[in-house]
Assembly symmetry: C2
Homo-oligomer: 541 residues x 2
């Protein structure tokens, strides 16, 4: 049995209707400690609001709050819900104060020393819907709006968000529910209106090291004149995100105003997406999904589409790489995911196309911010040594986006993209973007600590493990240390002789270096097979 | 893609095998801040370990820890995993210190100022099994042992526990998995061995206000000479638990040594179970289940059986009340739950019996610690006004437990229990228990603020809503305020005239009083029906 909000206490109460003993009434007058003074506690608790109350605080003792129960803090109509921590140190918080972590203080938005009242927080009402979902029910649009509203207003604790994510994970949402969830997430935050009929974007579902096509697609598409205000994430568990790599060349931490100005002038940008308050529920869910290491196709679709729609995109190209060590391992999974994107995208009125691409190995040569930036520069500058697969894939993606242009004939996008690249217009656009965002001194030298990994037999490269290569680059220090990473010398299908260099590990610090080398010694991520069989297995994929 | 522990840094590293620039090597020497000094932070974060690191701390900056990521703190072989909060106030923690919340400090168990190293904590390995469960797989005994070991060693965050609970909730565990989970939970903590062949216990799955049968069953069974070392919980969401009610009469907060001594002497006790470290995983899971408001039959079975087995019980009687406002609402659910208890209990070698009881209304008259204690005393003292249903139900339960005694003939238990009660031996035993635990001055007056709720028509009582009555008693202040609660004057089937008193609300503070009265005015929890139909509906149940 669950009794929400069992002990609400208000200052204004009507008198009892029958007083048996007036002395009792005196004792029962509200305590003077019914209000507390706000104190800002300089503790960063990330996405979770925390309130700190002294154990000797009258309210704590009277109300029987239990540590980690949630409390509702109210001041002049403003309210914030926070997890309660109990403090035994008056230098942190005094018995007549209520400490708030940075997040909670910012959200309540009143001055220090303001008087606040404290109550047991009701469980978020929408947790009823989460419980119904756990029991196997189908949820309605209103249910999802209730949930995303409560999450956006910080009424969910991390564990409640975890419960929601697990309850709606795997195949627990049908596609209508997924559409409802995506729409509710979209409605939870602001939405940019670029006031243009065609705002292009691209997104790769991730998992392929070195896959920095955005840094080529954006200059090509923007050079074509199409609006492509690209925001990207930093790497969380991978050795580089587009924001990390772009940061080697230019500032990426742009204010919304800066970004708008650059996009107006240059038709594109390559910014970090972390500052905008777009689809805030998505950020909050990701902050739980990531540490839990859970993600489902449904949540991926809702996350990507709500973010892109909030960013004002009207046309979106999704890249789904498929391969044995990619996020999506089988073509049938990729097709199912494509249908899901199409179903939800169509209902949310975004022009959406999906490209299923080769995800059998890393794209380009470098893995890690500086090494990837070097690959990008070689392609942009039409260097004959430029990575072929990075160039080809980027041109294909850019070509598909250019075909969103009603004036471009179907099938002509690739040729237009190639012309823009080969003519140097893409490189000129990239230079303009770098200049506009704030150029950094370009130094594309990889980490000085360098270890080469050699082929142990003759044959052909038959497999490169994306996951293992990413892990080696991460241990070497990427993306925190921009020069760290892995530089690949051989790709799938290449013939090798025993002793040929397969790849180089670059690091900046001895400890990282040792760890990366040790991991590579355990499993270097490459498989070398005999000629005939090797080639067959490539063709069979 | 998920890369566990991407940036491990050790103090002892082997040198790089190829130094290109010796200057780089100098720069890359481990920083002097690779160790931090432990500082105990007097913040009670409940079951979650929290570590506090200053934003200017060299390690935070170098390692790129993100707030709320988990860190592994190591000192002299001792290790503790904690959630990281980032502090901007040097009075809380200095840049060369690592603050630990009370929980984390106690668990690490080293002196303040001890040097510790900090690493990214690996995700608990057993989360892989949780993810497999989310994906619909069946887990093995080893999987569950991995999970409960990691939970017991505080490697799970609250959100990871929430993920586990939701993934294994509802019907997501088959009965073999439930058996594995229960056994793993049991193995996670200590286990009491009473060195007797028959250690009896009872447990009610809860949800029925006033259902304090343990306080009658224990003295009766102990008076029969059977060992019944009963520990009970305090109310969390209900208006009273057995520990709250017993506390009106005697101390319940006993040390394990005190409890053992009392049980040896008196053959029983009525203690609060919160101090023992039995089935600690159960406590930790409950600390997540309760605020989430989720509970599944499977988790209930695992929780109860692991606790009872850890407490050394060999014979257990489970009470499952069934009624429209009970936890279990249909007989078919009760039967399914019984089978589940039997299946797991048999495999864990406990003699287990289940009684399905009438859960259509509160048991006894009082709801709230003092009012319930009064009911108990009336039954024990053979007061002619004693509550009939409380007496009857307690005798039935006690009789079934007495029949665990191999020397008692089947069917004779009830008569033996009744003899013990009527002869005053139960009351004598209760007085001995109260004395042994530490008697309190007995004062069974209910709260002085009193409000009567009247019948609004003639007829028969056809329904009493357990949930609503519990809520009214909770708002009145129970169990925090022992004298608060509800005193029932009419029970199911009783004839009433308009204006008859249905129940009284007792409170100690005007605010609570007003809230309880207001809730009762909205819905007083009673249904009064016409005679014929009313009686039929009772029989039809």
């Amino acid at each position: 049995m669950q009794i929400p909000n069992p002990r609400i206490r208000l200052l204004t109460t009507t008198g009892p209707d029958r007083i048996i003993d007036p002395i009792v009434r005196l004792n029962s007058l509200p305590m003077s400690t019914d209000t507390l003074k706000i104190r800002r506690i300089a503790i960063d608790t990330y996405h979770e609001n925390v309130a700190y109350m002294h154990r000797e605080c009258g309210i704590y003792r009277a109300e029987g709050f239990q540590a980690l129960s949630k409390i509702l803090v109210s001041a002049n109509g403003a309210k914030v819900v926070a997890v309660l921590n109990v403090v035994d140190d008056s230098s942190i918080v005094l018995p007549d104060q209520l400490g708030l972590s940075e997040q909670a203080f910012t959200q309540l938005n009143v001055a220090e020393e303001s008087l606040v009242t404290v109550d047991h927080a009701e469980h978020p009402k929408s947790m009823d819907a989460v419980r119904r979902k756990i029991e196997g029910e189908r949820l309605s649009q209103d249910d999802f709006i209730g949930i995303t509203t409560d999450i956006a207003e910080a009424r969910y604790s991390k564990m409640e968000m975890a419960a929601f994510l697990v309850a709606t994970g795997q195949n627990n949402l049908d596609r209508d529910e997924l559409f409802y969830l995506t729409r509710a997430m979209l409605q939870s935050g602001e939405r940019i209106d670029w006031r243009e009929p065609l705002v292009a974007d691209k997104h790769c579902i991730g998992g392929i090291p070195g896959n920095r096509t955005s840094m080529l697609v954006v200059p090509i598409v923007a050079a074509h004149g199409m609006l492509i205000p690209k925001t990207s994430s930093r790497a969380i568990t991978s050795p580089a995100g587009t924001a990390d790599t772009m940061e080697v060349l230019a500032e990426v931490n742009l204010s919304p105003d800066q970004m708008h100005e650059i996009v107006r002038k240059e038709r594109g940008c390559l910014a970090w997406g972390g500052t905008a308050r777009l689809a805030p529920v998505d950020d909050m869910l990701i902050s739980v999904e990531r540490p839990l290491g859970i993600d489902s196709q449904g949540q991926m679709v809702a996350s990507i589409l709500s973010k892109k729609l909030a960013a004002g995109s009207t046309h979106l190209l999704i890249d789904i790489p498929v391969g044995p060590t990619a996020k999506v391992r089988h073509m049938r999974q990729a097709l199912a995911l494509r249908k899901l994107f199409e179903f939800v995208g169509d209902r949310l009125d975004i022009h959406l196309e999906v490209m299923i691409t080769d995800g059998r190995q890393p794209i380009g040569r470098g893995i890690g911010p500086v090494l990837e930036a070097r690959d990008i520069m070689q392609v942009l500058q039409n260097d004959p040594d430029a990575s072929t697969d990075l160039r080809q894939k980027s041109l294909q993606l850019a070509g598909r986006i250019i075909e969103f242009d009603p004036d471009v004939r179907g099938g002509q996008g690739y040729a237009i993209a190639r012309d823009i690249l080969e003519s140097g217009r893409a490189w000129a656009k990239m230079k303009a973007l770098i200049q506009a965002q704030g150029a950094k001194p370009i130094d594309l030298h990889a980490g000085k600590l360098c270890h080469e990994v050699y082929a142990d037999r003759d044959g052909f490269i038959t497999n490169i493990d994306n996951f293992q290569m990413a892990k080696i680059a991460s241990l070497a220090g990427a993306p925190m240390l921009k020069r760290a990473g892995v530089d690949l010398f051989k790709k799938l299908g290449n013939p090798v002789k025993k002793g040929d260099v397969l790849y180089r590990i670059h690091a900046e610090f001895p400890a990282d270096f040792t760890f990366a080398k040790n991991l590579s010694a355990q499993n270097n991520g490459y498989t070398i097979g005999g000629d005939e069989l090797a080639l067959t297995s490539l063709i069979a994929f």
